[in-house]
Symmetry: C2
Subunit: 395 residues, 2 copies
Amino acid sequence: MPTERKDINSLTIAENNLSGQEMFKILDKAKKLESMGKKIIHLELGQARFQPPVNLKKALIKSIMEKNYGYCSSFGLIELREGIVKKVSNINVNIDNVIISTANLLITQALHLLCNINDKVIVFTPTFPTYISSCQFLNLQLKEINLEFKNNFNLTIEDIDLAVKSNPRAIIINSGNNPTGAVYSSSNLDYLDKVCKLNNIWLISDETYRDLSYGVSYHSMDRYDNKNIIIISSFSKIFSIPGFRLGFAISNKMIIDKLALSNATLFSCLPIFTQFAISEIICTSDKYISNVNHKTSFLIKKVILLLSKSKWLKSSYVAPKSGFYIFLDISKSNLSGVEFCEMILNKYSVACTPGVSFGQSFDSYVRLSICGKNKDVIQGVSRIINYFGTISYDE
Amino acid sequence: MPTERKDINSLTIAENNLSGQEMFKILDKAKKLESMGKKIIHLELGQARFQPPVNLKKALIKSIMEKNYGYCSSFGLIELREGIVKKVSNINVNIDNVIISTANLLITQALHLLCNINDKVIVFTPTFPTYISSCQFLNLQLKEINLEFKNNFNLTIEDIDLAVKSNPRAIIINSGNNPTGAVYSSSNLDYLDKVCKLNNIWLISDETYRDLSYGVSYHSMDRYDNKNIIIISSFSKIFSIPGFRLGFAISNKMIIDKLALSNATLFSCLPIFTQFAISEIICTSDKYISNVNHKTSFLIKKVILLLSKSKWLKSSYVAPKSGFYIFLDISKSNLSGVEFCEMILNKYSVACTPGVSFGQSFDSYVRLSICGKNKDVIQGVSRIINYFGTISYDE
């Protein structure tokens, strides 16, 4: 006879919130419409239209032919870690300071490593949604500090003071910001580093778009003492390979060793052949990256020009300084960002991401990814502009 | 002036335990010795010596040539999910019941989804270390129920009753067991399913070695109603591609939808090209798998024959019914498993994994992976046997 407990519970799942990433839900909706024969313009995902470097593809195939199907060290492929060290300007960074993982996952891994349950984490919003969903995943207390449109969504000394005053365990910054394209100033980052060290606050700096800045100097946190800093970055954007799911972290040796244990616990290691392919080109791709940068900023400028000519949208954006997103204020539509995205997908076949994904105060915004084919992007943005032309306002 | 908090804390990391996987630490040690010129025999990792199916390599290169570098759905590639559905015997399983992720990571994802902090989880030890390290990672209460050598490490009705009585949120089983090679009986799994449903206990069934059983029938949990069951499996072992880091889960639609959110939160999605390659061969690889199976069981039998002839080790193992591991009792060495592994690596250049990684009561065991080249494996095992010949016992 099977045992039946007296204190029997109902079959429930955990109380954790799982929010995922809104853009992937929109991608799924868009793909569904496409499978029904509709042609959709994708402005929702940060997926570059460029081909990866030719030598990367060659190296990938070479690595596959050479039978690299086995396990790798949990720290990642040594050749790739060496390549990353060469790219960092700080001479104190060596191979013991670098670990390979998926950049998106590193956010959860770093927060898990640094924070106990219910610890407070600061993000400056609008910002990349995974910081928010990772905090939910790990039962951390998230505090969003809203950056302001009037400041071009830049991080100010007042924002930093506000963050420190609320006594957080960790602060996450994302310069080369997704979704605003803001690049934080050298002096403000100096101040941030100083107050975080003074107050023993961990600093996670997501520098995924560091090499995709234009018209401004980029300031990496890699120039500071890393005793309280974890830098996270990704190869997805600079080499146009988001599907590789490869990134890295730079920190002090104690943190890197712990992250290797986190890797081993969570997924053992990453594929050798993708790591090998990147290691082959990482130190010889400056021309490729500057070409991507040039083409991206060219398209961004074209889109900005279009928006600047729109009666309704000319004051609804901040021209980005990095990356390939435009964070657009759509409040004149009288729709929420979520409603706007639903409407513009169904009626205009344009997929974009609601602003609320990037911070709870931003539901009058949407994010446009300006990284598809020029023609598609221009057409998608034009449809959005046209939509605003079709509605009348009480102004 | 930078703000300094009054309630300043010291800079510490979280109190979480991160234990990783011991075999990866040994791999790193072994690689270090190799870099110093030593030739090491690897019996620590479950990394098959076989080449993957020829068509898989072709499909992988085809997919890379076709530029599949982009993002994928968080559920995984639809063609691969369809392929998995075709391989499952239960006709009630359809594409909504399948999600792609890394099998090792799915353990943490499933536990995170099902359990609140401090919930109790049962594992039957010895068992795969990630169950243990995932529970630590998630702050869950782990209870190890030791299976017994005298029962050939099989799961018994008494073990199941003991598990249910301790009122767990979830039970994890691993038939086709790593490290013992035990395959649980149909009647005992029937009983387990019944009592878990009756008591609203979640059941996670790791079936990574399901297709690598020999001499016995394998019984998958996929034949039961999946309202409380999550099946996890991997392509690593059946296609000899541990470096792909690809696996899947099968469950009810609600769980699969939540796991897609978990994927989106943690890593967005997995590479398209590896998923595509497997989707191309998944339904036509029976011959490849049976060939791998045949060669694996052949080598296992050779090793068992060697051990059976050893005066000191002839009663120190249970012949496995699946997979490619032998869990060896090394208590006659008067060393702990950890000490034994250290010694045999340094003095005999053989890497193996201490038993304590598979359950805290098993530090008089080590795990041998019987999946390298025949010659290497035989030589590695022979060195271990020779070592026992060199020590004298007070018997």
